[in-house]
Amino acid sequence: MELKKRINWIQNEFAMLSIIILVVLLLMGVLNPLRFFRIYNLQSMAFQLPELGLLSLGMMVIMLTGGINLSLIASANLSGILMALVLNRLAPPETFIGSGSGIVLLVILVGLAAGVAVGLANGALVAYVGVSPILATLGMMTLLNGVNILITKGYVISGFPPAFQFIGNGKALGIPFPMIIFALIAIVVGIAMKRTPYGLEVYMLGTNEIATRYSAVNVPKVLMKSYVISGLLSATAAIVMISRFNSAKSDYGESYLLVTILAAILGGTNVYGGFGKVTGLILALVILQIISSGLNLLQVNAFITRAIWGMILAAVMIGQYYRIRAASRIR
């Protein structure tokens, strides 16, 4: 009985997000039918969603542990800038011969390594030193933004070989390549969260840290792993992002931080940790991408869009509050 009720509840969430998708689709269809449903728009949506999706996954993993990762975007930019530097050193724009795919692999490793390094630093601060996640990642964000500006002096680094540009702009079997990357990684993260001991430990930790400690779970190790995964995801987002823009800069994606938190919460991730699923996050991302592309097509001012994100965030939180209250009343 209890289990059935819970399944019902989860299905509800899935159904609710699906309904919202239909509603926003309908809304955009009514507001701008000629342009919204064009193949071109749908494709550009498929190119934009992955980088936000990867960042949101990185945010969600930390939110599940009960924390928040404010250094996510700064970390992605650090990876992006380092990759751009290495690319420009090894394959300067004026000497592109062939596609340069051998270098690309090395460059990706550099980006991922930077992500892991940031993750280890964040993880060590939270897990071993005992700094609260907000403060640790806030300090890390300031530090990394500083480092990024220091390296680039605020300039753009641009001009990458074709093989690298393919990652963000190419298509395989007619599907945008970034989408394939995102799908694969989302599946891996989804399985890791649902089917591995690590995933179970994350949910336990997010629900009740003390109980988790007493269950002989190595809490610091779980936290370390989570921050490293978050760093890796932000580095992957950086690969897609700088490849799509064909450039790297210290302040790319600044407005994404709000949207990653919004996506996670809209997708059902509990801000206090312990609850949330990858499928919910993906549905939430689709909703936000539809709204963002729709507003963009309607040529709505970017700042109105920002205000709208904020209002949606508030609305979603209020909705969650009433749902939790309703759920506890049934019990």
């Binding site: 609260s132 907000i134 300090g139 964000m141 933004n145 709000l258 205000a307 965030l313 508030a314």
Partner: protein
């Protein structure tokens, strides 16, 4: 002596002295009254907001939206005084009123819907700021009235330097000191101030404070209204300092302010934090940035240094907290 060594404030004070010695050794211009008054004037803007942030942190919350609140207050104030004229009291009244109003909006969301403060304020930051840019069209305001410029020049204490140029304690610094005094009084001597610590010390579940007879609603309203109050004052002060009003000049500074308060020893989990620590935190950041400039370090380094200082400071507090807990457990077991 032992008690002094246990206090976070003592370490910041030591850091400030050390920094002063190093900077002075490299540049004689640093340790002069003129430079000190200058720092006190230009950092009063950050300083005023840091007092508000401290109150929020003590109550167990965090606020990211206060820069947007200050901007809205400042902009509306500037529009009104340039269009219809007025006086400095009116300018402050308008900005403070708007600050308190927006602060109360934050408090409503936090209290009635039980939303974590960081989420609420990340949301309202974007709503307030986004709407302001849309309605103002992002226009800068230059033609502030003459009395507004004159007020900024007032010195409470005037001295002459070697070249006969007057300098001294600015009225703007006095405003900062007044805000500090108000907050210190409330935190130390009023029931409201003490209950703030109690509510913050409770952590997530506020019921112990409630059972102790504290009206959580009133405390939350006060906290975010006070944050708005300081943001409103800071908005006017920033306009006084630069004499132009740009809608994008304050937003983005929130981290500097929060950093100062955190360096000052306030904990994000609530219940701790002192005015002295916060003032020292602001001074440390001020001296650091002033010192970097005087030592001709490129400005690119600024954020790197600040980031490192934040991480060092929070790590030190966390480790000390850990040690204290271990000692408490050891005593209990003995």
């Amino acid at each position: 002596m032992k008690r002094l060594l246990q206090k976070h404030e003592s370490y910041i004070f030591l850091a400030i002295i050390l920094l002063t010695v190093v900077i002075t050794a490299l540049n004689q211009n640093f340790l002069t009254l003129e430079n000190l008054f200058d720092i006190l004037k230009s950092y009063s803007f950050i300083g005023i907001m840091s007092v508000g942030v401290l109150v929020v942190l003590i109550s167990g919350g965090i606020d990211i939206s206060f820069t947007a609140v200050a901007t809205v207050g400042q902009y509306v104030m500037a529009v009104i005084i340039t269009k219809y004229t007025g006086n400095i009291v009116l300018a402050f009244t308008i900005s403070i009123f708007i600050g308190i109003l927006l602060g109360l909006i934050n408090a409503m969301f936090i209290y009635f819907f039980n939303i974590p403060t960081i989420i609420v304020t990340i949301g309202t930051l974007n709503v307030f700021y986004g709407l302001l840019i849309v309605f103002s069209g992002g226009r800068w305001l230059y033609n502030l009235p003459e009395w507004f410029a004159k007020f900024a020049e007032i010195r409470v204490l005037t001295l002459l330097n070697a070249n006969g140029i007057p300098y001294g304690l600015s009225i703007i610094t006095v405003i900062w000191i007044a805000v500090i005094a108000i907050a210190a009084f409330i935190l130390r001597f009023t029931v409201l101030g003490r209950s703030l610590y109690a509510v913050g010390g409770c952590g997530f579940d506020k019921s112990p404070a409630q059972r102790a007879g504290i009206n959580i609603f009133r405390v939350q309203m006060f906290v975010y209204a006070f944050m708005g109050f300081t943001a409103g004052i800071a908005g006017v002060v920033q306009a006084l300092l630069v004499q132009t009003v740009a809608p994008n000049s304050i937003v983005g500074k929130e981290l500097n302010v929060i950093a100062a308060v955190i360096i000052g020893g306030a904990s994000i989990s609530g219940g701790t934090g002192t005015i002295t620590g916060t003032v020292l935190g602001v001074m440390l950041l001020a001296i650091l940035s002033n010192g970097l400039t005087l030592m001709r370090v490129p400005s690119y380094w600024y954020d790197v240094v600040i980031g490192l200082v934040i991480l060092l400071s929070v790590s030190a507090s966390a480790l000390r907290q850990k040690k204290k807990m271990q000692r408490a457990i050891a005593v209990e077991e003995a």
